[in-house]
């Protein structure tokens, strides 16, 4: 069963096309990651799913939880917007009760206390929001989105700005939500989070869908066109190796994106000439690499300039 079915939906602001003919289905019980550069249309898509924005007239349909007419005020959907805010003068406990009541939950007292304890905020329950740190406020906001255990949870950039400990806490809670039956959609700029957590990944770029599927299926489309190498030697310059389209330098090792048809044996023999090869591994491109390949405006290669549209077409 699909929780969300988007068919051929567009959204235009004045002259700017924010989302162009988008189709997407989100299966129940999955964790779906939305990635894409800033301003590519992620938030607009999420807001359309929430019915905060309406698609352009006559541009297609959006069905959420099997209903095409649910308003933004859907009690079965929890929403953490990217631009988050809390009433500064309200106490933490009061604001959570307010949001729980707004979602139609009546027995919220124990739930509020449980969630505050789980996210280590119990001592702050009676403090005003303005006294909280940014990370704490973000956790309060997260609780407000999930306190009613909604069937669908939509989180716009839930992990941004959190320290690793709090990011881990929130990640565990998201996984626990899925275990309890919720479907989770979140947008993120952190590719490793998307790789680790998401069953499906959807990438939008300039309003167009450029990736959609499991991580494996996305990587398979790109094939094993990357080698991860670690070479010691003074004369080593990965950019000078013939057959290498682009280099991602991570310091201790490099990922070499090979041009189509390049021979790995030939690349290895060139590397050996440069120095001592400690590591040579044929790998699938990482999500980070795929993202950069798509989102980098113009990519140079040995044969000159090629536009991003080729990568988009390939995706």
């Amino acid at each position: 069963m699909n929780i969300i079915e988007i068919e051929n939906v567009s959204k235009t602001f004045a002259e700017h096309v924010a989302v162009h003919q988008l189709s997407l289905t989100v299966p129940a019980g999955s964790i779906y990651g939305f990635i894409g550069p800033n301003g590519s249309g992620k938030t607009t898509t999420l807001r359309m799913i929430m019915r905060i924005y309406y698609p352009d007239p006559g541009s297609g349909s959006i069905r959420v939880l099997g209903e095409s007419a649910t308003g933004a005020a859907n009690d079965r959907v929890g929403y953490l917007p990217e631009e988050r805010g809390l009433y500064k003068k309200m106490k933490v406990r009061d604001i959570l009760r307010f949001y729980a009541e707004l979602k139609g939950r009546k027995d919220f007292r124990s739930a509020v206390a449980d969630w505050l304890d789980r996210l280590d905020l119990g001592a702050w329950a009676n403090k005003k929001v303005e006294t909280l740190s940014k990370g704490m406020a973000q956790k309060v906001q997260f609780i407000s989105a999930v306190i009613t255990e909604p069937e669908l949870v939509i989180l716009d950039e839930p992990f941004s700005g959190l320290d690793p400990v709090n990011a881990d806490v929130l990640r565990e809670e998201v996984l626990a939500l899925r275990k309890r039956g919720s479907t989770v959609i979140f947008s993120t700029h952190d590719m490793s989070v998307a790789e680790q957590m998401c069953d499906y990944i959807f990438m939008i770029y300039k309003g167009n869908k450029v990736l959609d599927g499991t991580l494996d299926s996305i990587q398979d489309r790109y094939g094993q066109d990357t080698v991860r190498v670690c070479v010691e030697g003074n004369g080593y310059d990965p950019n000078s190796i013939a057959g290498v389209l682009r280099v991602n330098d991570f310091g201790r090792f490099q990922e070499l994106h090979m041009s189509p048809g390049a021979d790995t044996q030939h690349i290895l023999s060139q590397l050996i000439k440069c120095g001592h090869v400690n590591h040579f591994e044929l790998i699938k491109p990482s999500l980070h690499d795929i993202f950069v390949r798509i989102a980098r405006p113009v990519v140079e290669d040995s044969s000159g300039l090629r536009s991003v549209s080729k990568e988009v077409a390939r995706a």
Binding site: I52, A72, G85, K88, Y99, L102
Partner: protein, 439 residues
């Protein structure tokens, strides 16, 4: 509707807990009561310093009479007879007669002016030779009062009496008329200002009560001011709270749980609650104060329910406008400049209320009170002035206000829905109109 009420309760609690609400609730009556108390306290602390006046009398016949009148006044009417002690409550008027002594009028007048400048005198009067003959036209004057303190009128007002009395006396003597006969013939008759005669339950006809114009104007004015205040106390914080939800990005969280129209409706209901709270407290205080003062029958008790109805409608109407301003702008400065026209509409009744009180049944008053933004205040004023107005008028007014309110709430909710998510820049008027038309 349940969600609307959740929002309304939060809005009400948030508004009532603010310092601004506490201040307007407690401080304003204290300031009113304080100013009245200060007036009472100052009443007994009048200026009792002697007032010196010089009279340059070219007829030679009037000044001595003024001196006599001043002496008489200084001896009796400036004192208040208390229980056993006599207390001076008004200043003495000391009149000095200046002889012309062959000086030119201008020269003598300049010398007296210098004495006023040197604060030897408060003022001086010049009575010229023609003063005894009746003037050819009423604008002609032969008596002049010169002073350097134009706002202090007590001496000038008092002087009219003795000077005119003496002049009349001389004129009558010249014509051989008996002053007593003339006075009896010319006696001025006062006209009593009464309400209407009515018949009580036993069938007896009750006498009409004396009417008091000032007291009859205070009721309507009080109702108008109370409504104005309850609109402002409710609507201003509403604008700020919408602006807060917009700038702190709370709006989008709320819109994930409730539709924009319901969100605004909830906020408006909360605001109505705030307004009614303040109006109730003030009406109760006013009721007790007026009863304590012994003017209980002046309290417009029969209008309380009309007041409540119009207050609710007015807060919805203006609250929706204030909310849409809060949604259309991005900071408080912009809000203040954009809210000015709305404030002018709210305060419009203040510019015309005097006419409406004086002529509540005039066609202009009827037309003004049926102009929906002004209806709540002006219709109440017209109802509060005896004998009241036909019942169809406040009902028609309420229907027109209701229709206007629905239109404004609908338009405001569209501005609210689009505006509350827009960041970065305030909307231009053209954009706001487009949001209203297109939705």
């Amino acid at each position: 509707m349940r969600k609307v009420m959740v929002v309304a309760v939060r809005e009400y609690v948030a508004a009532v807990k603010t310092k601004a609400f506490m201040v307007s609730m407690i401080a304003v009556p204290i300031i009113w009561a304080g100013s009245i108390a200060v007036q009472f306290a100052l009443k007994d602390k009048v200026d009792t310093n002697d007032k010196r006046i010089a009279i340059l009398d070219y007829t030679g016949q009037i000044a001595p009479a003024v001196v006599d009148a001043a002496n008489k006044r200084n001896a009796s009417s400036i004192f208040e007879e208390g229980s056993g002690n006599r207390r001076q409550i008004l200043p003495r008027f000391l009149v000095e007669i200046v002889q012309p002594g062959g000086k030119e009028l201008d020269e003598a007048s300049f010398e007296l002016s210098q004495r006023v400048r040197n604060e030897e005198l408060l003022a001086y009067v010049i009575i010229d030779r023609e003063a005894l003959s009746p003037p050819a036209d009423s604008n002609e004057s032969h008596v002049a009062y010169y002073s350097n303190s134009p706002t202090y009128r007590d001496v000038a007002n008092w002087l009219r009496g003795p000077i005119n009395d003496r002049i009349r006396q001389i004129r009558m003597a010249r014509l051989n008329l008996d002053p007593k006969v003339v006075r009896a013939a010319m006696q001025w008759v006062a006209i009593a200002d009464l309400g209407l005669v009515s018949r009580d339950e036993q069938g007896h006809i009750t006498q009409a009560k004396e009417t008091n114009r000032i007291a009859n104007m205070l009721g309507p004015m009080g109702l108008m001011m109370l409504m104005l205040m309850s609109i402002m106390v409710g609507s201003q914080p509403l604008m700020h709270s919408v602006l807060e939800e917009k700038t702190l990005r709370i709006a989008e969280v709320l819109l994930g749980s409730i539709s924009p129209f319901r969100l605004m409706l909830g906020k408006l209901i909360g605001t109505v609650g705030v307004s009614l709270t303040i109006a109730t407290v003030y009406l109760c205080v006013a009721f007790f104060a007026i009863n304590q003062a012994g003017y209980g029958d002046l309290f417009p008790a029969h209008l309380v329910w009309w007041f409540a109805l119009y207050d609710v409608l007015a807060v919805f109407m203006f609250g929706a406008l204030f909310a849409s301003v809060g949604a259309a702008v991005t900071d408080i400065k912009e809000a203040q400049s954009m809210v000015m026209p709305v404030m002018l509409v709210v305060m419009m009744p203040l510019f015309v209320w005097m006419h409406v009180v004086e002529a509540p049944s005039s066609t202009l008053s009827l037309a003004l009170s049926l102009f929906p933004p002004a209806t709540p205040m002006l219709m109440l004023i017209r109802m509060a002035v005896p004998p009241g107005i036909p019942i169809w008028q406040p009902i028609l007014g309420a229907v027109l206000v209701l229709i206007t309110t629905l239109v404004i709430v609908f338009a405001a909710s569209r501005v609210f829905r689009v505006g509350i998510l827009i960041q970065g820049k305030g909307a231009r008027v053209g954009e706001v109109l487009r949001w209203i038309v297109r939705g």
